[in-house]
């Protein structure tokens, strides 16, 4: 997971349990660089509870370390998944 020129991070297409280990590694890696945890969500095509809980944990880390957290341009699939899971507040965070 690399930062864009604006410092944002691109979420992958699948935030699902079969990709959760790789996503977890990526999130831990970007968390170490100390930068803002602001993501672009426009590429996300599917998301399940395993993927969403990683985003919740990342937000908690951002709050604990005083760093910005946000999800910019969420795809319809990501927005729907967050809504279904009762986690739409993840989209209300301001980077």
């Amino acid at each position: 997971m690399k930062r864009t020129k604006k410092g944002e991070l691109n979420l992958p297409r699948s935030l699902t349990v079969d990709r959760a280990e790789g996503l977890h590694r990526d999130l831990k890696a970007v968390a170490e660089d100390g930068g803002p945890l602001v993501f672009q969500g426009d590429r996300v095509e599917q998301a399940d509870a395993a993927g969403l809980q990683l985003l919740v944990a990342t937000r908690a880390l951002a709050r604990a370390t005083g760093r910005p957290f946000g999800i910019a341009r969420p795809s319809g699939a990501l927005r729907d998944a967050l809504q279904l899971a009762g986690l739409a507040d993840l989209l209300e965070e301001e980077g």
Binding site: D18, E21, D48, A49, L54, A57, A85
Partner: protein, 273 residues
């Protein structure tokens, strides 16, 4: 075995079980059973397979079960009568579904489009044939049981699944989605208090739990059926709220059904957020 293989295997096991369940239920339907519970069970099996197949990369199974679901949805809504054509088309679909699940089990990527496409067209034609025709006398209605509020009943659903449910093939999002198909989800509260810090969490374990307020014209048993295949996989409770209890009201002390299966969820530690 990689993550993806592991979860494909879990899907295949679930697909085999659901196919067997569909077979039993469709044979019962063929025997002129007109039980709304039976129709709902068949619908949910097809719906679950559709969603799981799409998620785990089995597009032919997803396409077929989607077409089956469209027929069953009409039957469930009382728009389509169950007749020989409906039953025979569903049984034919089951034959092809079994073939597709066998292929998935054996790792075959055979394209069954020649058989699948006309079959899906037929299923869609069956589903659409009666559009605008109004409810049929022969069609069962997924109506609430006697005594249920006709305008809908409010249910409170607590779903705290065991941490290892992903390995059982249980997808909490599908369960939430299935609940939503029963009526109107008034509120979904996600409990994140069990979630460890990012560094510490195991990405293959589930730490989230949910409390859902659902308003539906469905019986308690119909809501419970959503959890038919995972009722032993955690702390699952469906409770009917008072008829006059609206959003955010107190939970009713009335009829409820606890599904305490496996271990109770770990004691909630301090919330991470």
């Amino acid at each position: 075995m990689g993550d993806q293989d592991q979860y494909r295997d879990v899907f295949i096991t679930e697909a085999q079980e659901l196919t067997a369940s569909l077979e039993t239920d469709l044979v019962e339907l063929e025997g002129e059973a007109r039980d709304p519970e039976l129709i709902n069970r068949i619908f949910r099996a097809a719906h679950t397979m559709k969603s799981s197949a799409a998620m785990f990369g089995f597009p032919q199974i997803a396409e077929l079960t989607h077409s089956m679901e469209s027929v069953l949805d009409r039957v469930r809504d009382g728009v389509l009568a169950i007749d020989a054509e409906v039953v025979n088309t569903l049984l034919e679909a089951l034959d092809v579904l079994r073939l597709l699940v066998d292929d998935a089990t054996e790792g075959n990527d055979t394209d069954h489009g020649d058989r699948l496409r006309p079959l899906c067209q037929r299923l869609r034609a069956v589903a659409e044939a009666v559009a605008g025709g109004g409810p049929s006398e022969a069609a069962p209605e997924a109506a609430p049981a006697e005594g249920e509020a006709a305008a809908g009943t409010t249910y409170r659903v607590h779903m705290a699944l065991n941490e290892d449910v992903f390995f059982q093939g249980t997808n909490p999002m599908l369960l939430l989605d299935e609940l939503a198909t029963l009526g109107e989800v008034e509120e979904v509260c996600c409990d994140t208090s069990r979630l460890p810090e990012l560094e510490e969490l195991d990405p293959l374990k589930l730490y989230l739990a949910w409390d859902v307020t659902l308003r539906a014209e469905a019986s308690l048993e119909q809501v419970e059926e959503v959890f038919l295949f995972c009722r032993d996989d955690g702390d699952i409770r469906v409770e009917r709220a008072g008829a006059d209890t609206g959003r955010g009201g107190e939970a009713a002390g009335g009829e409820s059904a606890a599904r305490d299966g496996g271990e109770p969820p770990a004691a909630a530690g301090p919330a991470q957020e």
